[in-house]
Subunit: 186 residues, 2 copies
């Protein structure tokens, strides 16, 4: 059961390419990608779940706020397993909220709600599920960022080429909101 597979995404992956097959992945050994200073690790994608859900982790150093963005058709879970992450969300009436989430805490961002987050402790880890009736978007990170073989956080941040921002986000139901302001105070 620790077989490696060639898949459409990786030449070596622990995620079986054919759906319907059980599998186990040890800590950190999912499909890895780097985007800025963060490590994203995919453990299950739409292929495994008939496009109903996915499962990934985001790990990163204490850092700047991620730019505000919105998903038209994707609901998103933030569940913290290590460290602390401040989640910013705006509801569909324009009301803004922020909350510092630590180990065991949970945040839910429905589709069409602008959101952002800031990692507030080094080597925080967030479990994410991001899916909706339109499918799942776990391959966003390696398309805007880059697939990675190495384990652990990026040694140097991966900064996407500027032109990628014009093409990749919309393929994965991500819309950045460059003029968005958080008025919540932190």
């Amino acid at each position: 059961m620790t077989i490696e597979y060639a898949t459409p995404y990786r030449s070596r992956s622990f995620i079986p390419p054919q759906p319907g097959k059980p599998y186990f992945i040890e800590k950190g050994m999912g499909d890895r990608a780097h985007l800025f200073g963060d490590l994203v690790t995919v453990y299950a994608g739409g292929e495994q779940t008939e496009n109903t859900f996915n499962f990934f982790t985001v790990e990163g150093p204490k850092g700047d706020i991620i730019p505000a963005h919105v998903h038209a058709d994707t609901h998103e879970v933030f569940y913290i397993t290590d460290g602390a992450v401040r989640l910013f969300v705006e509801d569909q009436e324009g009301e803004q909220y922020e909350k510092l989430l630590t180990e065991g805490d949970f945040g839910f961002v429905p589709k069409n709600c602008a959101h952002a987050y800031r990692i507030e402790r080094h080597h925080s880890r967030v479990v994410g599920v991001a899916a909706g009736p339109g499918g799942t978007f776990e391959r966003f990170f390696e398309n805007l960022g880059t697939p990675a073989e190495e384990l652990g956080l990026p040694r140097t941040p991966y900064v996407p080429e500027p032109e990628k921002f014009g093409t990749v986000p919309q393929r994965f139901d991500v819309r950045f909101l460059p003029d968005h302001q958080w008025r919540t105070g932190s």
Copy 2:
């Protein structure tokens, strides 16, 4: 944002009854249920995700193996955040696998694969996502078991009335396999 709501499931819940609303839930404060010695905590259900996915935790003491069962239409994630859990899975060709999962490890059980698990360290915690094209099944635990107000593991195990086993599982896409044998050795 720490408002409590009356929902179809609880008189007091941190999960908003109307979809489309962002929310945060602090550790342990989701909708709780007891089933045997385990505590199940629901943080998001089908109502929040247009029935694409859910998100819950299962915590329990070191104990006996959970009876083998199968879901006809539900894929299931096991992600360990504390302790150790041994996961048993049989694929659709009848091949059986088992794996001891510890913190950060992941297991995926596709629909129609018999499976079971045994908690192998006290106060282990598993993050679960269980969904498929037919919907989500997070309310199984409180229907076969019982909703709980208290925090922490059940002080005394909740043993369902025998007649519940004849009616509840099939409503939530659970089919127990009383004659199933694990030949994997542990």
